[in-house]
């Protein structure tokens, strides 16, 4: 990257250099369906600073993609109802007009998607798709400039012989190269916010490692704020600074990656940790699934939406879990660590009950 193009938001950048680049407050997204409205996301708040990475974890239907698409303004405004506040670099984007939104999209914020084969247009050359992304935000640039920029970006993301591969079609690329091209396209306008939606899910582990390395290098280079959406806690552990755990459209736990993965305080997070085996764990570790299935958003459970699948609700007095939605409150390990659970003493439950089953080796170490 030799020249950093000036963007129209550079003035606003100076104003907002104090606060986080992205601040989401009390976000709610509702879709109408034939069976009635579905609230895919509600009461969601988070913020991401430049140079930091937020990991959002959750299963299908947890609202992790829906919330990020709301940030990008990708929902059809005619059907999706979005309320709350999303401030990108100080600009409120909820209710922002389509043309102003378009100036932001792909420019100061970009998104890369899972399954790059489907996300890239099969009929256009890689180079044409990259140039298009550049030209739409640089109206004065010539086609040749855009092509040069595309080759430069392909080179930056590690595509060999970029001046030749720029004229290939997506199906002529391997899976890893397609995802690289997708990243190049996302970063071509030097965005300050990059949202990566399951960027490595369909890839092999060695390719996944390459892509994650690349994302980290690029983040360091461009100092962008990154949101990485994934269901893979391993990816979270390696990439994220902060973690947001979502369940049934709500944030159920939030904290630094260390807090979430070593001292989690919400039974759903425990369940996620206990249901994935680890390549380095003791073979005496049990694989403990979360019973049941994710809930229907059409008829969400009363109280805490996780209660029908929660195996610790017997430790909460009365019918609290069933009747009352727990607040998102500070956890015991620190004020930045938030959890949504009625359990009185989650740390003790985790250490004495859960940990010995899922990581017996860790318990011995601490003793």
């Amino acid at each position: 990257m030799t020249s950093v193009p000036m963007t129209q938001s550079s003035a606003a950048e100076r104003d907002a250099s104090e606060g986080p680049f992205l601040r989401v407050e009390d976000l709610k997204v509702t879709f109408p369906t034939q069976d009635g409205p579905v609230t895919a996301v509600q009461g969601l708040s988070y913020s991401v600073e430049k140079g930091k990475t937020l990991g959002i974890v959750g299963e299908s239907g947890s609202g992790k993609s829906v919330s990020s698409m709301a940030v990008m303004g990708l929902h059809d405004t005619k059907s999706a109802k979005i309320s709350g506040s999303i401030r990108v670099d100080g600009t409120e984007v909820v209710g922002l007009g389509e043309s102003q939104m378009r100036a932001l999209r792909g420019n100061s914020m970009a998104m890369i998607f899972q399954d790059a084969l489907a996300a890239l247009h099969p009929f256009y050359k890689i180079g044409a798709q990259l140039s298009e992304a550049y030209l739409v935000h640089h109206s004065s640039a010539s086609k040749r400039d855009a092509r040069r920029k595309a080759i430069e970006m392909l080179d930056r993301v590690g595509i060999p012989q970029p001046d030749r591969r720029v004229d290939d079609f997506p199906h002529q690329f391997s899976g890893g190269m397609r995802q690289r091209a997708m990243i190049a396209m996302g970063l071509i306008n030097d965005p300050s916010l990059l949202i990566a939606d399951e960027p490595t899910t369909a890839l092999d582990v060695t390719v996944q490692a390459q892509i994650l390395d690349l994302l980290q290098d690029l983040q360091r280079e461009f100092n962008s704020a990154v949101i990485i959406i994934t269901h893979d806690l391993g990816v979270i552990a390696e990439m994220a600074d902060d973690v947001l755990v979502m369940y049934a459209g709500r944030c159920v736990e939030y904290g630094t990656v260390k807090q979430i993965l070593t001292t989690p305080e919400m039974p759903y997070t425990w369940g996620l940790l206990s249901s994935i085996p680890d390549v380095h764990a003791s073979t005496d570790a049990r694989l403990i699934p979360i019973p049941g299935n994710p809930p229907s958003l059409l008829r969400p459970p009363t109280g805490c939406s996780f209660h029908p699948r929660c195996v610790h609700s017997d430790k909460v007095p009365g019918d609290l879990c069933r009747t009352e939605l727990p607040e998102l409150l500070p956890a015991s390990s620190g004020t930045a660590h938030l959890k949504r659970c009625h359990l009185a003493d989650p740390v003790r439950v985790y250490e004495t009950e859960v940990l010995p089953e899922i990581a017996p080796d860790l318990v011995e170490e601490t003793r």
Binding site: A209, T262, P277
Partner: protein, 442 residues
């Protein structure tokens, strides 16, 4: 004019933006009534009960006899030229001479990246393809040589569980029909007892036996995978080939299915060939693992060896690439072995060792001589000229004496290869010790 209004079926308008991100929710709408059942089933369970249902990693029974013996199995798919006359211009060497054993009631894991031939191997064993060469001994029969008709009675013993629970079940058949069909095809139980057997099976896989008359779309992904498992179990198979059985499922559901498969293995003494790219799941489920690269097995051994002391650079790279949850406690990222580039084309694989083009240890010999799959421990074989633990790869090839070549891989005149080891599917009592370069044994 074509006047058929059905020439192209109409697509129903979708309510929402119709994006991939929302498909998750649509699936959830499908199964809300089933979810309700589960809420009833699981409410009130406490942690101790659920933890008790979870399993620790499967253990190896070193004395179990093999139920399936694969020897030098090959599958070449022809590649046709473009143009007017379509000639065969080459072959995709999807599987190129692999040998292994699956122990009775045990599990062998097959790992590797896409295109390494692991799924093809599964399809060969279930005879969805007819192998190009090699043998697959099962119960005194060579599955590789049988005709489709001779294969039929054996099919009940070798069944398959597929990856995608959404497309592998016929949406127009009820669960009862799907699970019961093999019983009728093979004429095993009288017609009036089919339903009873179906309900038994549904109960085994943790579904409500009363749901036999429902259709697949009424179930969630995890439940559909259970239906697929019930169908595979219908005929009491001796070998189950599970091709990525959990990779399409949500994280919390994956563990449910893995536990179910472990239950089934313990209860029915079924042997598993477990094909997956998720190294952690394979480690949990399989006491023995074979690592494949570009159609060949590069390393095979028991779990402790493969995950703890891998000797092949590819296995080491693969393991180092797996993201590690525990990393969070330490912070930052682990050093990992970076593999550059992509897997070469299986139509024209590299000469000698197929991994050499991406291997940091590769030398001249690797291009000239293919490394044999050498047994170097009681249950450990590796195919590498520079086999060694991570950080302790030898500077000179370990295979020169065995192959009768010098360090550059040129045949030494007069030298006789001392490799007395034939690559047999199982393990020998004696093996080649890498440090002494002598035959050693237990």
């Amino acid at each position: 004019m074509t006047q058929d209004p059905n020439a192209r079926s109409e697509i129903e308008p979708t309510e929402v933006g119709a994006n991939a991100a929302e498909t998750g929710e649509r699936e959830l709408h499908d199964d809300h009534d089933v979810t309700a059942d589960h809420e009833v089933l699981h409410e009130g369970l406490d942690f101790a009960t659920v933890a008790g249902m979870g399993h620790v990693a499967s253990e190896l029974d070193p004395d179990a006899p093999p139920v399936l013996t694969i020897d030098n199995l090959k599958m070449y798919f022809p590649v046709k030229s473009a143009g007017v006359v379509r000639r065969t211009i080459g072959h995709v060497q999807a599987v190129d001479g692999i040998s292994f054993e699956v122990p009775k009631g045990g599990s062998l894991g097959l790992v590797g990246e896409s295109g390494c031939g692991k799924s093809t191997t599964g399809r060969l064993i279930t005879r969805l393809y007819k192998p190009t060469g090699g043998s697959m001994m099962f119960d005194g029969h060579d599955l590789a040589k049988l005709s489709s008709r001779e294969m039929k009675p054996l099919r009940r013993d070798v069944q398959m569980i597929f990856q995608d629970p959404y497309t592998s079940l016929n949406p127009r058949h009820t669960v009862g029909t799907i699970v019961g069909a093999p019983l009728e095809v093979h004429n095993i139980v009288p017609k009036n007892q089919v339903l009873k057997r179906v309900q038994e099976l549904l109960e085994v896989v943790g579904l409500n036996p009363e749901h036999y008359n429902r259709y697949p779309n009424e179930f969630s992904g995890g439940q559909r995978q259970r239906i697929g498992i019930a169908r595979a179990l219908t005929l009491n198979p001796k070998v189950l080939v599970a091709d990525e059985p959990v990779s399409a499922l949500d994280v919390s559901i994956q563990a449910q299915v893995v536990n179910l498969l472990q239950d089934i293995q313990n209860e029915f003494d079924v042997a598993f060939l477990f094909i997956a790219h998720d190294l952690a799941i394979v480690r949990h489920f399989c006491p023995e693992i074979a690592v494949m690269y570009l159609g060949k097995i590069v390393e095979i051994g028991d779990r402790e060896t493969i995950y703890g002391r891998p000797h092949h650079p590819y296995t080491q790279a693969l393991l180092s690439a797996v993201p590690d949850v525990k990393q969070a406690a330490i912070g930052g990222r682990r050093e990992r072995i970076r593999l550059e580039g992509d897997v070469p084309s299986p139509i024209n694989p590299p000469s000698g060792c197929r991994f050499r083009t991406r291997c940091q240890f590769a030398q001249e010999i690797c291009a000239k001589v293919e490394p044999p799959l050498l047994q170097i421990g009681s249950r450990h074989k590796v195919a590498c000229h520079f086999a060694g633990e991570l950080g302790a790869h030898p500077a000179t090839p370990v295979t020169t004496d065995l192959l009768g070549v010098d360090d550059q891989g040129t045949p030494v005149p007069g030298a006789t290869p001392t490799n007395t080891q034939l690559t047999i599917p199982g393990y020998e009592k004696t093996w080649y010790d890498l440090t002494t370069k002598q035959t050693a044994g237990a």
